[in-house]
Symmetry: C2
């Protein structure tokens, strides 16, 4: 009898010891699904290398490492294959649908099947149906592909008005970050009608949300005043540009809300005894990758990782009840942490000299310059003013450039200043669809850092999945992006079928 | 009392249920450490995409996926940071030392510390000291950096004779794959002395191995005739070229031994009651990446994955006693699974038209052509003969090429044919140190496939670690490459200190 008790005690200890790694876990009450758009391994690790090299300087013995982000310290790593049902290289809509509904679909499709006729239930809707509160946050517009895939069902990601109108129908509890393109569409449509009819719950997505009881917060004070449990749509009219996205982190005025701050407020408002499901997208990592602007990418990854930090803080308070899954939807840009012209060297710290995103430089600084520049034809070289601007904003000192680099810059300058731009394969490879001088400036700066780009589009390389908390061991191994919400559904004890 | 027994039974079941994922495991008797040189995620997944697209054709609904390799089906995934102690972008010597000794060191160093004065014990030596038999296999020369890091201790990877002389000293049980550069060095040194002294155990690494009791097998029949338990050095004189490496898989004659076949023979010879430790390197993935030749890379990855398949077959026979860890030492080439000129499209199947490695094309086909070509100066365009060769060997049909692509090819042709080549940044970016026409041919073919390259050197992106078997859960998460052998040592119950 005495030995039996002893044996029982030993077994009890053994069981509790192996508990952390076992297939047993408490169904998580709090689920964070954090998605970096366009973010795969190179985006994450370029940011880590940049932190290290700007903080300790490169090429010193023992200081060549990386400063790990929150996400790469998580205990579980998996890999997702991202292909769509109709293309090896996915877009964000097919990837978003795979990760919200558990089905591969055609590019461009929002939470519907490949035939684009059948709506598919999303993991966020299943969480809502289970009684959890649901939050959807993004740094791009709330009707952009990735967030849309969690609350809307439309055959085409371009149907912004229809997607926005699905927002209020979702009955989700918190939307935040970027604004609604659908509102602009509604306003435009009404403007074309005689007397411009008023916004109603039937024609205007913002009005529809209001009628459904959503509090609309358009600045920090308004958001902070919202009581927990109130349905909320939060975005800041002050800073949202023409595309209704938040500004790039590198351009963000101090007083603006960061995505991490939105996340903290969302937690405050959503937290309740039945728990919550929250999807937060770092949406502009992708945009900066499309434009081949590595420094802007780095700042976006860091801003997204701050969100991971907020989620991890919450996890530490509720370790047994929280699941955090961090991933990307695809890689963008074919970013490589090396460049032919640099051999085995890296100098990521040169990117610290960049003070502005490609977009803001093009839209403001370069635009002002072009308006008053004295440029006649392509024989005109760059003047001292534009040289100064490139030096000030990108740290590119013309006199330090090689002949070959100057040639690339002068060629781009001519294209930027010309009323009619050259066409053809070479120009398309050099500039994609971007402002020639700006994209050449980021290309040159990135090359000096020891970074190169292969494309202005997405690529097919898999994306890492980082996980921690209740049920996180499910996210190990290599699998399809459509398996990810199925694993989540199993952990959350809901069904996606 | 009855309830107590029931409780005991439940606990027993619960314990055994969670056993597979617990921190408890049997110390593995058989350890496979499989290293793809220059192999990170893009190399692996480009091979998977290629298999799928050549087998089912691209752009068909539901057929856009990947055919998974053996390695990506393994249940545990981790990620290794690869930086060296003196450089963010590592070389194979520093990476090899990190993965064999558990210490970051300076680039170029073979199993010694950063001061290059202190030898570091390797995981293979510790396995030997424990009584396990040890095998070291590679598709490059056996005295190349990666294999050397497991049995040799030298301050510089270039000291090929010294490294080769360390082979016999190691007292390991099996060496196989590529031959010894050190033998050539020894031969050359002796040739310069009057009367060319005979090879002895003091001046010739092969003779040293013979005297130490190693059986030398230089073809399949000899290798197959070797009795289990015999110390062996196996390589095939018939096919090993000037660099003593095995031929690229794409060029391999049917009758030659593959790396997988060497591995099977090594298992047969090494298997014994005390177990074995085996390191197998797919060494030429890296070389083909340096040259930016994706199809040759794919075939090398597939040949390496066959080795993984052989190890998995063995694992299935000894699941509780076997640990397999598969990884790379760094990424090479900045390979991206997308290309600016292709937008979102991929056509990996076009690479099936390539019939030869860049190296063999340059050394044989192009060399023959150059010897008899009628070329005067750079105004001469490509003739029909070279056009036919590019069509036959790379599937590049000149008449299908765009003006821009033809221009790139003609420019490269002029450089290849010219006695004196142009210098400068542009040419170095276009061709690296490679034969201009050959590297331009693989660049163009890869671009048509939807693949691009950023560099002719290594990059700093982390590499995945795939693991299965006893203690494999230790290889989860993100860590340094110097942690990998420490995890292995913990699992094997040896110490690296």
């Amino acid at each position: 009898m005495k030995y039996l008790y002893k044996a029982l005690l030993v077994l009890l200890l053994a069981t509790s010891f192996s508990y952390g790694q076992s297939d047993q876990f408490i169904t998580p009450k709090y689920v964070f699904f954090l998605i970096g758009d366009g973010m795969s391994m190179t985006q994450v690790h370029t940011a880590e290398g940049y932190l290290q090299q700007t903080q300790v300087g490169p090429d010193k013995e023992g200081t060549t490492g990386v400063k790990q982000l929150h996400m790469t310290t998580m205990p579980v790593i998996g890999l997702q294959n991202t292909f769509a049902s109709d293309r090896f290289i996915t877009d964000s809509a097919a990837a978003g649908t795979a990760m919200s509904c558990g089905h591969k679909t055609r590019c461009g499709t929002i939470a519907m099947d490949s035939s684009r006729t059948k709506s598919l239930p999303t993991i966020a809707e299943k969480a809502r149906d289970k009684g959890m509160k649901v939050g959807i946050l993004t740094s791009v517009s709330i009707d952009h592909a990735t967030p849309a895939c969690f609350y809307a069902h439309q055959p085409d990601r371009g149907m912004l008005w229809q997607i926005s109108m699905d927002l209020a129908r979702s009955d989700f509890d918190f939307f935040g970050g970027g604004g609604m393109n659908g509102e602009k569409v509604s306003d435009g449509k009404r403007s074309m009608q005689p007397g411009k009819p008023q916004a109603t719950a039937d024609n205007d997505p913002l009005e529809a949300a209001r009628r459904k009881g959503y509090a609309i917060a358009t600045n920090r004070a308004e958001l902070q005043a919202i009581e927990p449990g109130t349905k909320t749509f939060a975005y800041s009219k002050d800073f949202i540009g023409g595309d209704w996205s938040m500004p790039y982190s590198i351009d963000k005025p101090q007083e603006d809300l960061s995505l991490a701050e939105y996340t903290r407020e969302a937690i405050r408002i959503l937290d309740n005894p039945a728990g919550f499901f929250m999807m937060v997208e770092g949406g502009k990592i992708d945009w900066a990758c499309h434009a081949n602007d590595a420094r802007t990418v780095i700042d976006e990854v860091l801003a997204f990782d701050e969100v991971v930090g907020v989620a991890l803080d919450f996890y530490r308070q509720h370790p047994a009840e929280t699941l955090i899954v961090v991933t990307g939807d695809h890689e963008t840009g074919g970013l490589a942490m090396g460049f032919a012209g640099m051999g085995y060297d890296s100098a990521f710290e040169v990117m610290a000299k960049q003070k502005i995103s490609f977009q803001k430089f093009t839209d403001t600084i370069l635009n002002d310059y072009k308006e008053q520049a004295d440029w006649d034809d392509e024989d005109d070289d760059m003047d001292s003013e534009i040289k100064d601007l490139l030096d000030n904003y990108f740290g590119l000192n013309y006199s330090d450039l090689s002949d070959f680099e100057r040639e690339l810059l002068e060629k781009a300058y001519d294209q930027t200043m010309a009323r009619k731009r050259s066409k053809g394969q070479e120009f398309s490879l050099l500039y994609g669809g971007y402002e020639p001088l700006t994209v050449t400036a980021t290309h040159l700066l990135n090359r000096k850092a020891g970074i190169s780009w292969g494309t202005y589009s997405h690529t097919a390389v898999p994306v890492p999945v980082y996980a921690i908390g209740a049920g996180s061991h499910m996210f190990e191994m290599m699998y399809n992006n459509s398996d990810t919400p199925r694993k989540m559904a199993e952990v959350m004890q809901v069904s996606l079928d």
